[in-house]
Amino acid sequence: MEPKILKSESNLERVLSNGHFAVTVEIGPPMDCNAEIVLEKARLLKGLADAFNITDNQTGVVRLSSIASAVLIISEGLEPVMQMTCRDRNRLAIQSDILGAAALGIRNCLCIVGDHQSFGAAGKMKGHPGAKNVYDIDSIQLVSALKGMRDEGVQQGGDSLEKRPPFFIGAAWTPLGDPIEIRPLRLKKKIEAGADFIQTQGVFDIGEFKKQMKIIVDMGLHECTAILAGIIVPKNLGMLKYMNSSVAGVSIPESLIKRMEQARLKAGDDKKQAKKNQAEEGIRITVELIKQVQEIPGIRGVHIQAIEWEHRVPEILRRAGLIPRPVFPKKGG
């Protein structure tokens, strides 16, 4: 029995509305047009999560498009969450792409503002820091536009739609971003705009996250949307330190950094072993984080981001006890 009438045709929505702890996993498209890379990741992850986020030129780097990658993974039998940023498209292009995505069978859309294009130039990457950005609408306005299309059958400008895009609408939330006292209010605005589900920025500081979630639960916001805690898989000490110092809204407790340091030190001068040790510690930390967020009131799932490390995700999910995933018969007709 379906507990309530579903808003979309999304499997993720069905999993959540049936009271399951949801799992989404991120898939990063390649920087070229090699469909095989996307398909390979899809085959590797098939059946292991309820839906799979496809990033949209993440960190301002040109990649195989989110829509195309989403369609590729559909062909392998996976359900995509198409990420849509406000950085590269104005409201015309966004809505046009949303209609196109719906026509192609995509049923989840994560509305995000998008990293500034200056992020693309980092390390060895040149990126396109001189690009003109758009930001015609922001992520909250995008959520609202999408909801208007789905529920009211109107485009943002007011023209009507005959066939409405049946999307499950997502938004991102940075629970520990600065200024921290505004973060619950911003989540509230995203929910009011129409966010059915939320995927948070990667959480490492469970203590602080718990505090913020207590505020959310006290506000009753957890009942108005499904909050999936973001889990970023740390590969090594360098990545942990980098995220701690440079990624907004991510703070890594000293204890985790120490653990990773220990893992590296244990290998002595053996670089290969050091890498292996850190990878193993990273996975252990990830599994622990998943189990910890599962216990936090108001958390209804996890969103796992293993950046260019998708092949380690099956092991993580198995060790966290998150597979097998619930299966629902495909809707007839």
């Binding site: 922001d138 991102a172 600065d178 200024p179 209010l185 911003r186 809204g249």
Partner: protein
């Protein structure tokens, strides 16, 4: 004010080195105040060019001038007349882009080159430091955001910020850039008006900004006065009187 920065001397030199007689024109308003293109900078650029040309044995006559404002006809007309009278072959403007455009509109075949890069509308927050504070977008919403502009001061110009990229009061693009939304939140918190940010601001109409095409402001009462009175200065005086009389 409009904030500008002088272009590198080599770039300026490359614009004008093939003319025999050039006029460098400063502007007495914004670019004077931001120390980019006033009387002093005209002198500096002129002597820099003279030294450069001397080294290369080039004989180029450099004239100097400074208009009170390069964006008003009464001041620009004087410059245009001087250019024609003295046979100037090229003009280098140290006014903002408005000055370059306005003179180009009036100088027919004489080229006008930009001596500064026009940056933004900003304030001098400390000696030698200017910060962008207005984007001139044509539909002011400062009453909603504690007097701090998200269009000009947020890197993404978002209306329902801050985004997830705010860290220790700084923007994700650089630790040197203040997060505009952090400024808004902090100020509204102090003012006790933070709850006003609960309201979702809808997508804005960008047609009042440059996205609506080149803009113009028409003040009918001044237009009609100037048609009656003939001279624009008279019209302005009359308009001033009219305004103060209100």
């Amino acid at each position: 004010m409009i904030v500008a920065e002088r272009k590198p001397l080599n770039e300026i030199k490359s614009f004008v080195e093939n003319y025999k007689k050039i006029l460098i024109v400063g502007c007495g308003t914004c670019t004077t105040v931001c120390l980019a293109g006033g009387e002093t900078e005209v002198k500096v650029v002129a002597s820099g060019l003279r030294i450069g040309f001397l080294k290369e044995d080039k004989e180029i006559e450099i004239l100097e001038d400074c208009a009170t404002r390069q964006c008003e006809p009464e001041f620009v007309t004087e410059i245009v007349e001087r250019v024609k009278k003295e046979g100037v072959e090229a003009v280098l403007s140290l006014g903002c882009g408005v000055g370059v455009n306005f003179m180009a509109d009036k100088l027919e075949t004489i080229p006008v080159f930009p001596g500064v890069n026009t940056e933004f509308f900003g304030a001098a927050v400390e000696p030698g430091v200017w910060v962008e504070m207005c984007a001139g977008c044509g539909n002011c919403i400062l009453h909603l955001t504690g007097g701090i502009c998200p269009i000009a001061r947020c890197s993404k110009s978002i209306l329902n910020g801050p985004c997830g990229g705010s860290k220790d009061g700084k923007c994700e693009i650089s630790p040197d850039v203040d997060c505009g939304w952090n400024l808004i939140v902090e100020r509204m918190k102090k003012m006790g008006t933070l709850q006003r940010l609960e309201e979702i601001l809808p997508p804005r109409d960008w047609s009042t900004s440059h996205h609506g095409g080149p803009r113009r402001v028409i003040r009918e009462e001044i237009v009609s006065l100037s048609q009656e009175g003939g001279e624009s200065t008279k019209a302005k005086e009359a308009a001033k009187e009219k305004e103060s009389g209100r």
